[in-house]
Amino acid sequence: MVAVFEKRNLRDFDWLTAILAVSIVFFGVWQIYNAQPTENYWSKQINGFFIALVALAVISMIDYRRVIDAAPVFYIFGLVLLALVLVPGLGVKVNGQTAWLKIPIIGQFQPSEFVKIPTILMLAKYFGARKASSLRLKEILIGGLILAAPVGLIMLEPDAGQAMTYFPILAVILFLSAVKVRYIVLTIAAGLILMPLAYHVGVQTGKIKNYQQERINVILDPENADPKGYGYHTVQSMITVGKGGVSGIKGDTETSQAKLKFLPEPHTDFIFAVTAENTGFIGCISLLLAYALLLSRLVAGARQAPDRAGMLVIMAIAGGMTFQIFMNVGMVLGFLPVIGVPLPLMSAGLSAVLSTFIAIGFVISVKMRRFVN
């Protein structure tokens, strides 16, 4: 039994997906080094990578169907972790957000990064079990509730950026669960009307804070934004990207924007700006192509998934990842507001790399079992 198991593993293991993910991480490590050559973020990232690689290998070996069966357990466990973050003394406050949990031995980590996976599993379990027919409103509401629990807890931290990354997961799952096209059209139309309205009301009632307004204003008119205020990040990020030109400064970081501290958070949220400065248009386009290839591999895997739940898991992961890439790079390129969303596989941070590798582990697990039906 064991022998058969391993033989199949080696043959069916999706090497290309794994190698793509690993390559992006190492490209990221180089950029983290460029961002902070004098700090040890890059070596920490390598350590984190090895932990994540082990996790990927283990997860890919496990039959995802067992895991999906146990999804409610993981889901509840995830919610408990998110709740623990909010307990004074356990949660760690960084930059005004209590998003970190400090556990003895394990260390410090960000539950909101990991809870995405049980949430996906939970949604996949619920929507994967149903018959192929158009979604009913009740089902949509239940999906919404499954999502609302973690999102609500994350908003309490408050970490709007992380919370936002949960929404595309539900959107993808509902879309693939045959939500009626008219609902989609209705949602988009409502969004187009309600978003500016909500913004206006938010500004009037003071729910949207000044700095948040400024972050939006700077996108609309970066040249005239207050370069000292909240527009600073966006303006400096655009300068950093533009400065890279065709082929970048090629690691000559003596006068880099990060070294001279013009670029904030260069190794985390603005790692793409560092990439742009160092490797230029060529490097950036290569990275985007690598992401496109990775996403293609995921979608191809979804098409071959042995069951609906497996397909939903992969597509939710792919959708979430796409959304996060777009939010992060869009922010770096100055056309989306500054929201703290890490760039998958690139930004320094153990939690982010580990959770992404776990997700890719699931994808590989699903793909590996495509012939077993």
Binding site: S134, L176, I239, T240, T255, L260, F281, L295, V299, F326
Partner: protein, 628 residues
């Protein structure tokens, strides 16, 4: 899973998501193309501009010496507390004024003005908040480095006037270039920047270009907080050229002592070399301390001192030698006599004109101080006979007087190498307005003008220039203070972009003297008259020096403007010596002190004595040295 088996077009839906993902990535790619390829250079420049800074290295300003190499003005290094504009762009520091004022002991109001200025002029990189920072100030700034990173300590050369009030008007002072000056096109052309130090008044202003030198700079890389990370290039400054002036400090001190001891302590003494126009003495009283403008302009006491200079009714900032205008009184008779001879109103052979004890114009009698019969010219000068000149002027007519005024250039600046020289006012300049108001130019005005009253006011420098020609056959030089600018070496390597070539030594660009035409006979009778003033029992007989004949002319100018309170006359003495081969010409004016022979003449004599002590001490044997 066989997607095509499923209902609801699942395959199409998965494909839709994939397409949306690719479209989003493509949007990022297009945006990247725009930022990096289309606008790459623009952002590259922006990045460079925010990280590369040119930090100027001020050039040491040239020193100023007297003709014998005695130091008059110097620069010395001082610590300044400066405010970095880069730092305060990101914060509002209005609420720190109290802290600065208390910590640095600077005037609060001054700080408010400075902050307003730096907001208005973004060209400021560093603004000086306090000069001559003390150890306490420096300690305070260092101790608050975290709190107030915008404050820095800078070592800069500062102008220093070791002589204080001595020669202050002539030297001038330096100060920060004003906002108004910065707006002028010629200032912009020369590349001045806010915070630059320039000469204000006196030689400092007139020769600023040469004294200033060329600042160097450090090209450095700074981080986002403006802290220097590394140095790319350093270009050393080229120091300003040292100025050797024509001033003789010993004579200057003697002159200033006379003014200080005069009855009103107001007036001016000027001495020149009549053979070339070099100014040996230029004293004006009351005076001011230029250091107040340079070292104390930021402290409450210093600002009070400066404001007192500006509002004081005695006008200590006025250089009376070139900016004061006074009725010349009888000293006016010297150029007038030469004019009359030139125009043929009198001749050297027959120069007698009746005195008559005065003259009646219409029904008004204007009297002479004495009754001199019908004297010749030299006697009229010696005794300062007014009646003679009343009639002489009527003979010359006002047109003749104006011709004389033009001949002696009283209608022009003397051309002295100082800024803001005033032009004398004479019948030439007054005539149009007088004729307009009164319908004609009446004879009484001509009579008054003949003795340097009414429509005649002259600057002391222009009067000395005119009178001193008598001893040098009519040669009228441009008075000047520059003897020589010393050379200065080149900076950098030849061929480098930053190479600054050496500057060679140069002197005053002296134009040829204007020649006031006189025959030797004409010259002699005027000279004889002036000799007689001191040596022939004339109005200045009290200052006679044996062996060093002074030729001069007294003047006692009524001043109607101050007359209401019975103000005393201005006292004049204008002279040169030795009379027949002059080496030095001296003029003194003591405001509101009275008769010229009694007040101005002794002041002039003191300057001659100082001159003799240095150059002909043998002549002082017996009388002067014994006195000391």
């Amino acid at each position: 899973m066989k997607l095509h088996d499923q209902a609801q077009n699942l395959g199409i839906r998965v494909g839709t998501i994939q397409v949306i993902a690719f479209v989003l990535l493509a949007i990022l790619g297009v945006r990247l193309y725009f930022l990096q390829i289309v606008k790459g250079e623009y952002y590259s420049d922006k990045a460079e501009n925010q990280r590369v800074r040119l930090i100027p290295i001020p050039a040491p300003r040239g020193a100023i010496f007297d003709r014998n190499g005695k130091l008059l003005v110097d620069s010395r290094p001082t610590y300044n507390v400066t405010l970095s504009n880069e730092q305060i762009k990101k914060i509002d520091i209005s609420d720190r004024i109290e802290d600065y004022a208390g910590g640095l002991k600077v005037d609060r109001q001054y700080l408010v003005e400075r902050l307003n200025l730096i907001r208005k002029q973004p060209g400021f990189e560093l603004m000086v908040l306090k000069e001559n920072a003390t150890i306490q100030d420096i300690t305070w700034v260092e101790a608050h480095a975290e709190e107030y990173p915008e404050l820095r300590i800078e070592l800069r050369p500062q102008r220093f006037y070791p002589l204080g009030k001595t020669l202050a008007h002539t030297l001038g002072y330096v100060g920060e270039i004003s906002a108004k000056q910065l707006e002028k096109p010629e200032t912009i052309e020369k590349g001045f920047r806010p915070g630059d130090i320039i000469g204000k008044g006196g030689l400092e202003q007139y020769y600023d270009e040469f004294l200033r030198g060329k600042p160097g700079f450090r090209k450095v890389i700074v981080d986002s907080r403006g802290r220097v990370q590394s140095e790319l290039e350093i270009v050393q400054p080229q120091a300003g050229q040292d100025l050797v002036s024509t001033i003789d400090l010993d004579l200057q001190l003697a002159a200033e002592e006379q003014l200080a001891n005069s009855s009103t302590k107001r007036g001016t003494i000027v001495a020149t070399d009549p053979n070339n126009g070099e100014i040996l003495v230029m004293a004006s009283a009351p005076s001011f301390d230029p250091n107040a403008f340079v070292m104390r302009s930021t402290t409450p006491e210093g600002r009070k001192e400066i404001s007192e200079y500006q509002t004081n009714e005695e006008r200590p900032l006025l250089n009376r030698a070139i900016q004061g205008r006074y009725h010349p009184g009888s000293t006016w008779k010297i150029p007038e006599s030469i004019g009359a001879l030139q125009q043929g109103a009198i001749t050297a052979a027959n120069s007698n004109v009746a005195c008559g004890g005065g003259i009646t114009i219409g029904n008004k009698f204007t009297r002479c101080m004495g009754s001199h019969g019908s004297p010749p010219l030299s006697y009229a000068i010696t005794k300062s006979c007014d009646g003679y000149y009343y009639r002489l002027a009527l003979k010359m007519k006002i047109e003749g007087l104006i011709e004389m005024i033009e001949e002696f250039e009283f209608d022009k600046r003397s051309g002295v190498d100082l800024p803001n020289e005033k032009i004398s006012q004479t019948p030439k300049s007054w005539m149009p307005s007088v004729v307009k108001r009164e319908g004609k130019w009446s004879d009484i005005r001509t009579v008054y003008a003949s003795i340097g009253q009414d429509t005649v006011v002259v600057t002391p420098i222009s009067l000395l220039r005119a009178v001193s020609i008598v001893g040098v056959q009519g040669k009228m030089f441009v008075p000047h203070l520059l003897k020589e600018f010393k050379s200065i070496g080149a900076v950098g390597k030849e061929g480098d972009l930053s190479y600054v070539p050496a500057k060679s030594s140069f002197g005053f660009n002296r134009p040829d003297p204007k020649i006031v035409e006189m025959t030797p006979e004409q010259n002699k009778i005027v000279l004889d008259g002036m000799w007689g003033v001191v040596n022939g029992g004339g109005t200045g007989a009290g200052i006679k020096i044996n062996g060093f004949d002074i030729a001069g002319k007294t003047g006692t100018a009524q001043n109607s403007s101050l007359n209401s309170g019975g103000a005393q006359d201005h006292s004049w003495f204008v002279s040169f010596a030795p009379a027949y081969k002059p080496e030095i010409a001296v003029l003194a004016l003591i405001e509101n002190s009275g008769f010229g022979g009694r007040h101005a003449a002794p002041a002039v004599k003191a300057v001659y004595n100082a001159y003799l002590l240095k150059n002909h001490s043998d002549l002082l044997d017996g009388q002067q040295i014994a006195k000391k």
